[in-house]
């Protein structure tokens, strides 16, 4: 079972799969997934096409949606206010549907506050607007340390927040998810909304990075 994966050291959440080759017959857990799904379909508890359709929904969710939300908030103060008041309904205004029943709280970075999001218990993440979380978000080092030593964690991402800026860490739950509204970078007064969206990164919306026009590579 589960051939080709070795976890010799204490690295419990490291999801490495590169050693599994395409030609190998399916692994134990792959078979288990297929078997559970087929049994549920046979019992008419789920529809035969539902998994396929949900995969299409998952594939349609990428950080580009979050970037669009952030850029709109930067150019439209009314939208920004609505977004901060109710993240979910403001995203829905832009046509981003929430396929689950989670709420979204948008946390605004300012000159005085930098926000960081984490899920210490598992991997809750604003999936409708960012897609699926990166592996590091689900692994022990980030989940354990983000709440106790956020500045050290940020430094490991190459992000240094000035000492006079407070760092607020928000711990997600099954029902409440967070999204960081990064600060609009200096020197972008002439940018179109689309150009602004091009500056916004996934990591900035998690809070492990800040947006820098100099390094973003977007032509001015």
């Amino acid at each position: 079972m589960n051939q080709g994966r070795h976890d010799p050291h204490d690295h419990p959440h490291d999801d490495r799969h590169s050693e599994i080759s395409q030609s190998a017959h399916p692994g134990y857990f792959d078979v288990m997934e297929t078997a559970v799904r087929e049994l549920l379909v046979e019992k008419r508890l789920i529809g035969p096409g539902e998994i396929r359709r949900q995969i299409e929904v998952l594939d349609s969710r990428t950080p580009a949606l979050g970037s669009k939300v952030v850029a709109r908030a930067w150019v439209d103060p009314g939208f920004r206010a609505r977004l901060l008041a109710n993240g979910r309904s403001a995203c829905e205004e832009l046509g981003i549907s929430f396929y689950d029943d989670t709420q979204l709280i948008v946390l605004e970075n300012t000159d005085k506050v930098h926000n960081l999001i984490v899920c210490t218990l598992c991997s809750c993440y604003p999936r409708p607007v960012l897609g699926l979380p990166p592996d590091w978000y689900k692994l022990k080092p980030y989940r354990a340390r983000a709440v106790s030593e956020p500045r050290a964690v940020l430094a490991e991402f190459g992000t240094v927040i000035p000492a006079d800026v407070e760092i607020l860490v928000s711990d997600s739950t099954a029902m409440v998810r967070y999204l960081v509204l990064p600060k609009r970078p200096e020197g972008t007064r002439e940018y179109t909304e689309e150009q602004l969206a091009g500056l916004v990164t996934r990591d900035a919306m998690i809070g492990v990075a800040v947006i820098d026009v100099e390094t973003s590579g977007v032509p001015q």
Binding site: P12, F29, V31, A35, L39, D135, K138, A174
Partner: protein, 111 residues
Amino acid sequence: MNDSEHLTRRLPNDIGGLPAERIQRTEHDLEPWEKRCHALADVLDFHKIINTEEKRRGVEALGAEMVGKLTYYERWITAFANILFQKGILTPRELARKMDEVEARSVSNPP
């Protein structure tokens, strides 16, 4: 505090604030079965068969060794099977037979 007292304070996945290694900025594209497993989780939630909290508790209930050694989606699918057994929706025998069938099919029709 005696040796056993601290054990009552945290479940295996309750790790916020504990010391841990440096961040490794690992990312991988999901394997096809992992993506199916994720979609299955969503569909189970839509149908109120297994919700997010039940899934998390199901993973906790695997115990520290499995939580430590199984990968992320391996934990999920194992937890789903256990929860479906507990709810009387599937039986272990039924799942074992279906897994044999799926396995046999993949051997006779390799991808």
